[in-house]
Each structure stands twice: as structure tokens, then as C-alpha cells.
Symmetry: C2
Subunit: 184 residues, 2 copies
DNA sequence: ACCTGAACACCGTTCAAGT
DNA sequence: ACCTGAACACCGTTCAAGT
């Protein structure tokens, strides 16, 4: 039985590499995890990864896609909650991957593919944010600016870990901007 | 009387290294500029830098300090302008160094000294922001949250280059929140 | 097609040795 | 003290060669 004839389908092996990279990138960070470590965790040699991916940034993008898919998936569970709760949920969810956030910003400068993933991501989140605001009955003029303030604030929360209290205060202050003053 | 006088004072050589690093880090980025390039630009060998600095992160911090000092210095020229103008000025000023911003976030994960510089920086900017808000007569409860929203929004503007129009809209929307509604 | 060992190019950093 | 040439350790990536 030749050793390189694996019982697994190629897609599974690929998924294993992504899973290994995801864990390592999230826990230790992209820069801090060599390809050799990803490979070892996935049970292959470093250069094997290059059969499945163009380069390290391609692995990063696969990780980002997986994480995003999971997040969107899990979002269903809080979709019915009021806005500030959902906001806080999103922040918590994403905060686990604050390392990925700064990695994306750092790598976007050097890798066009990461840059384009980043652009798409902001398009997506801005869109979600915008429909949230509209559903909440926010004033429609200057909505774009509010959306950006919201997105940037969330990004800031991810990257600068604050206390529980402060996070809630910021989320509340954010929502207070959109929801028209409660007068009944 | 010191007998081994160098043609250059050591402080000058150090400053030259920082100047070279600053230009390269701002233009090409931290990751993209090897120590050898910094050294060559400063007219020394790569390893000479290690006599003046502990490591590459120490050079980065020296660059950050220099940039910050210049920015605070130049701020005097717009100190008298109205808030939104000053805000926009700050964004423009800092946007030239968006590369440094993401570098700080990326390196803060791995280098404690960069992390501590980053913390100090946020303390400083939050303080400035806070006194701006107080001077503008913003409501004092929930001020901390507003300050953070402001800081994060500016950081977001730095890292996600928008059009001129959008930047102004965001800055205006930000200030609209603080300045009490114009009621006659 | 899938995978490997060996090698290349590059980079941050160190060190013994020079002035 | 200040600076260098040479080397070390590490890492992303490639390639000829195997199954």
C-alpha cells in the first residue's frame, strides 16, 4: 500500500488543511504560524500545501471564507433578538478572530487577492448593516455615513479589547443614534 | 577631551536611520522593507542598525514617535478651525500613514513594546478627543462611548480609503452627534 | 492526480573581529 | 565607542522525482 495513496478524497484533505490553518491562524496568528506548522497539523509536508493552494495568502482566504460562512450560519440563532443584542453578539463572535482582522488589513497591502476579499467583506457587512438600519426606521438621509460609522466602530471594538461594560456602552450609544428617540 | 571623535555625532546617525526607515515604512510598508534596505538608505550595513536599536520593532517605534511628534506639531496650524475641519485635517494627515496604522495593529500582537506604544497612543488620542467633545459642549453622560466611536471611526477612515465626499459625510455625521441640535 | 525530499532565495539577528 | 563581514536560523516557495 503506497503511502501517498490516501483513503481520503482530495476535497477532504484540502478541508483538513484549512481546518488546521484556521485553528492556528486564529490562536497564534498568521505571521506566527509557519506553513510547516500548518502542514504538520494537517498531517502533510509543507510543500504539499502548495499543491492545494497557490500560496499562504490563498490559505488565508480559504480560512476567512470558512469563518465567514460559519458566522453567517450561526447568525440565524440571534436573528430575532433586538438590535443591541445582535450587535453585541456580532462583536463577540468576531472578537474571537481579532487576529484575523488585523491580518487581513496587513496582508491586503501586499496581496491583491486578500485586498479584494477585504473589499467584498466590507460590501457585505455594509449591506447587512444598511438593511438593519432601514428596518429600524433610521432616517434615510446620511444613511451611508451612519453605516460606515457603525462598521468602523465594530471593527474598532474587535481590535481594541475593552471591558464588557464599555462594549455594551458603545453598542448602546451606536444604536441610540439610529433608533428615533423613544417617545411613547 | 575625547580622542576618538567621529565625523558624525551618534545621535545624528541614529536620526538618519530613523529618517530612512520612516520614508520606507510609510511608502512601502514595514513588512515590505528589509532591514538591509533601511541600512542601505541610511548608508550603513544592516547589522550596524543593531547597535542603535534592539530589533526591527524598536526602529518602528522610533519612527512612530517621530511621526507622532511631527503631527502634534503641525496640528497647531489648524487648532483654531471649527471641529469638522480639524477632524478632516487629522484624517488626511494620518491617512498618509495608513500603512503604519495597520502595521502597528499587526506588530502589537507579537511585540510587547509595540503593543504598549499602541495603548499609549489610544490613551493620548482618546484624551484629545474627549476634551474636544467637552469643549464642544457635548452631553457628559455616555461621553466615553462617544469618544470611542469617534476614535474607531477615524481609524476606520484611515484604513479604508474612501472618496472625498464620503469622508466629509462621515466626519459631518460624527460631529452632528456631539454638537447639540441647532434650535433657535 | 497527488505527495515528498531537497534545495533556493530571502530576511532578521548575532558575533567575533576590526577601528 | 562604533562598525563590519560572515554566518546562523528560519521561512515561503519551487522543482525534479516518486507513486
Amino acid at each position: 500500500m503506497p503511502e501517498n495513496r490516501r483513503p481520503q478524497a482530495p476535497e477532504e484533505k484540502r478541508a483538513e488543511i484549512v481546518a488546521a490553518a484556521r485553528e492556528l491562524f486564529v490562536d497564534a496568528g498568521y505571521d506566527a504560524t509557519p506553513m510547516s506548522r500548518v502542514a504538520a497539523t494537517a498531517g502533510v509536508t509543507a510543500n504539499t500545501i502548495y499543491w492545494y493552494f497557490d500560496d499562504k495568502d490563498a490559505v488565508l482566504i480559504a480560512v476567512l471564507d470558512a469563518v465567514l460562512a460559519d458566522a453567517l450560519d450561526q447568525y440565524q440563532s440571534v436573528a430575532a433578538e433586538p438590535i443591541p443584542v445582535r450587535l453585541l453578539w456580532v462583536v463577540r463572535q468576531l472578537q474571537q478572530m481579532s487576529r484575523l482582522v488585523s491580518t487581513v488589513h496587513a496582508r491586503a497591502e501586499r496581496s491583491p487577492s486578500v485586498a479584494s476579499w477585504h473589499d467584498d467583506f466590507h460590501l457585505l457587512t455594509s449591506g447587512l448593516f444598511r438593511s438593519e438600519l432601514e428596518a429600524a426606521g433610521a432616517a434615510t438621509d446620511g444613511l451611508d455615513a451612519e453605516v460606515m460609522i457603525g462598521v468602523f466602530t465594530i471593527e474598532g471594538l474587535l481590535m481594541h479589547p475593552l471591558g464588557e461594560e464599555e462594549q455594551r456602552a458603545v453598542c448602546d450609544a451606536l444604536t441610540a443614534r439610529w433608533v428615533p428617540p423613544q417617545s411613547s
